[in-house]
């Protein structure tokens, strides 16, 4: 019995002329003239096909904080956001610092099946920053972990960071650093600047990020290993990374959608929905981050999707948790900030949302060009749509979106993961 064909009818790959993309047996089987393909038809007139998005940085909260998110609800949110693969950060409870935990996350992700969930392994035991976790065991487990991060905490000890960078060379891993010098950010609440002084909120100075990025690129050069910088938030970090890349240092970097759009001015409301780590910065930082994403200094957009239950945000600023939802708004924010501004076209946006993050994380089968024979991981988006963000309708268990009430451009309409539709017409298929 031959596998059934699905025809994505009239779709425009990367915004080019319309074609029919025929998906069969999990791969793109044929690309033919629009209207001529046969099989089960999925209408996609005037819609744009991009490779399914890959998120290097999500917090799915399971195990431990299933009140905020689960692998199932997070996978649903990811699929609705156009993602076919996500990397789940290690700061769960228990911490993903053993083969057992990463295997559990991997299997739960496969059981849900809407996206491939790649567990990120902790660099140090319990994110404590003192003793390397069993990185090799996680790498050789069924989860085949390649990205290691203590995200939420910085690997601040230079000797530990050096050893981690060296150690993961044995299995071509990468250390994804949450760059935050802890002594410079004790009790830090928001970007340090004129506004933090006025609001009486302890500052989180850009130099606390930049000094770690500078140290780490030099360490990566010294030991000839791979460094990935999580959620770059300042113009200064961009300059350091640009310099490092110009020297041939193996460094990659990501930026979040919120750091591409929102400024620290929102903190003046004292509404903790705007509390995030690293904090929202200035319009000058935003301009530098967008330019860096456009010129390739920053490789990827990653959401840092950080769900929190309502009570952890419905309180005074200092008591609130850090973090924002991102999976279901990432594409729209990326389109708004990078495509509508003319900084990226659909091809280069696909590089930042799919191709490069898949390469950095070694998510094989994801981030492939839309060509015959490629795995059918496809996001089909409507660039002419606009929608009003209503967090109550999100698939995520949490509601802490900073975009509530905003009208955003662009919608994710259909998503195919390994040839199977996960989202059709903007709704989950299961």
């Amino acid at each position: 019995m031959t596998a059934q064909s699905m025809v994505i009818r009239g779709v425009r790959p990367y915004g080019a002329d319309p074609v029919d993309i025929i998906v069969r047996a999990g791969v793109i089987a044929e690309i033919v003239k629009a209207g001529t393909g046969s099989g089960r038809v999925v209408e996609a007139d005037d819609l744009i096909a991009l490779p399914g998005f890959v998120d290097l940085h999500t917090h799915l909260r399971e195990p431990g904080r299933e009140d905020a998110e689960t692998i199932d609800t997070g996978s649903r949110a990811a699929a609705l956001g156009g993602f076919t693969a996500v990397f789940a950060m290690a700061n769960t409870s228990p911490v993903a610092d053993t083969a057992g935990v990463v295997e559990q996350v991997w299997h739960l992700g496969q059981a849900t099946g809407l996206v491939d969930v790649y567990p990120v392994g902790a660099v140090t035991v319990g994110l404590g920053g003192e003793q390397l976790a069993e990185l090799g065991a996680m790498a050789t487990s069924p989860a085949q972990v390649r990205v290691f991060s203590d995200d939420g905490k910085c690997v601040h000890d230079a000797a530990i960071m050096r050893r981690a960078l060296e150690y993961v060379k044995a299995f071509d891993g990468v250390i994804a650093q949450h760059a935050q010098e802890p002594r410079l950010t004790v009790d830090a609440q928001m970007n340090e600047g004129l506004l933090s002084g006025q609001l009486g909120l302890t500052g989180w100075p850009g130099v606390a990020e930049e000094s770690i990025v500078a140290r780490d690129v030099l360490l990566a050069e010294h030991v000839d290993s791979r460094l990935h910088v999580c959620h770059v938030s300042t113009a200064g970090s961009v300059e350091v990374i640009r310099w490092a890349k110009s020297r041939g240092i193996k460094v990659t970097a990501e930026v979040t959608p919120h750091h591409l759009l929102l400024t620290e001015d929102l903190v003046a409301t004292y509404d903790p929905v705007y509390k995030v780590n690293p904090p929202l910065r200035t319009s000058a930082d935003i301009a530098a981050l967008r330019a860096a994403l456009a010129d390739g200094t920053i490789d990827a957009i990653a959401t840092d999707h950080a769900p929190h239950p309502h009570e952890d945000k419905d309180c005074e600023w200092a008591a609130a948790a850090f973090g924002m939802l991102g999976l279901q708004t990432a594409f729209s924010i990326a389109m708004l900030t990078m495509v509508n501004s003319g900084l990226l076209d659909w091809h280069t946006l696909a590089d930042r949302l799919s191709v490069l993050p898949a390469r950095i994380g070694q998510a094989n089968g994801h981030g492939q060009d839309l060509v015959v024979g490629a795995p059918a991981n496809i996001a089909v988006v409507d660039p002419s749509a606009s929608w009003v963000v209503e967090p109550a309708t999100f698939a995520s268990k949490s509601r802490n979106s900073p975009y509530a009430g905003m009208t955003l451009p662009g919608r994710v309409v259909h998503v195919f993961k390994a040839g199977k539709a996960s989202v059709l017409g903007g709704d989950l298929t299961c």
Binding site: Q189, E192, G193, L194, L195, S196, G197, Q198, L199, G200, L201, T202, G203, P205, T269, Y270, D271, E311, D314, C315, E316, W317, A318, A319
Partner: protein, 317 residues
């Protein structure tokens, strides 16, 4: 005016109205029966998440002199320490019909949250939030300055005021810089660079690291409390060094013009930021500040809750 959250929310007319109202209400304190019926039947809650007996008592007396019902709610331990959350406390007070909530909280912006999150309908008065603001302290300081140096009327145009000490962590300094600026005074903040906020050069005030330089050219000097635990965090090398460089002793008192006065929001660290001789001198007006605090807080509650016109107020007085 619905809430008093920041001294920066007051324009010149509003600030002067509060000062003028306080001046009128101060006369009540001199009567044998120290009470007005203005806020009879209204409920004022003093919601204190931080210990501050003096501020709490000041608000309590102010509300009682206006015949309001006063509830003291000492909510020790905020949601930070997993006690009852600010929200649930607010909902409780709302259910009990609080007309005004006077809040002291260790978290900057907590009064702002209380006023804007939709939890309560009543007025919110900021009685000090974290390292943010303490607007009634600034008002009572302005009132004291006006009484001594401007014959008790008008604004503070041209008045030169030095604020000395831990500007970085001081809500008193923030509110004073804003309010005294609105009233036309020229403010200079003086501290070691480690105790000045990032971006202070863009504040509406002058900045100096040298107390001796500034003292001969001011009409008033306000000394701020410096907590010795700042020393543990390396903001300055030692208490002695701080005191030598930024403490107000008799030698420095003599650098001031003869009419200049000394303020301190209290509680004082005698021997640290201010010597005992200076604290007890005739130039020091700390006791007046405390008395004026009651009048200012009466004026604020009166204007927030009284809902009366100027004529009504004159009639009642």
């Amino acid at each position: 005016m619905r809430h008093l959250l920041s001294a920066g929310d007051l324009d010149l007319a509003e600030a002067c109205l509060i000062l003028d109202t306080a001046a009128q209400l101060a006369s009540v304190t001199d009567r044998s029966v120290k009470k007005l019926p203005t806020l009879r039947g209204r409920t004022v809650v003093n919601l204190f998440f931080e210990d501050s007996t003096r501020t709490r008592i000041s608000f309590e007396i102010a509300a009682k002199r206006l015949s309001a019902d006063v509830i003291n709610f000492a909510a020790k331990g905020s949601s930070v320490s997993k006690g009852e959350s600010l929200k649930d406390t607010a909902l409780t007070l709302e259910a009990m019909g609080a007309d005004a909530v006077v809040i002291r909280h260790s978290a900057s912006g907590a009064p702002h949250r209380l006023a804007t999150a939709g939890w309560i309908q009543g007025s919110v008065v900021n009685a000090g939030d974290g390292t943010h603001e303490h607007p009634t302290q600034a008002l009572l300081d302005a009132f004291t300055l006006r009484h001594h140096l401007r014959a008790g009327t008008g604004d503070l145009a041209g008045l030169r005021v030095a604020i000395v000490g831990d500007i970085l962590h001081s809500r008193v300094a923030r509110s004073n810089v804003l309010l005294l600026g609105t009233l036309g005074a020229q403010v200079t903040v003086i501290a070691p660079p480690t105790l000045l906020p990032f971006g202070v050069n863009d504040w509406p005030c002058a900045v100096s690291y040298d107390l001796d330089d500034v003292l001969p050219h001011v009409d008033a000097v306000m000394m701020l409390r410096v907590q010795s635990e700042r020393m543990q965090a390396a903001y300055f090398p030692s208490v002695n060094e701080y005191s030598r460089r930024f403490g107000l002793d008799v030698r420095r008192l003599n650098l001031l013009p003869p009419t200049a006065i000394v303020l301190h929001p209290g509680p004082m660290n005698r021997g640290m930021e201010i010597s005992a001789d200076v604290a007890d001198s005739t130039r020091a007006v700390m006791v007046e500040q405390v008395a004026n605090g009651v009048s200012i807080r009466m004026a604020v509650l009166y204007l927030l809750l009284g809902g009366m016109t100027d004529e009504d107020r004159r009639d009642q007085l």
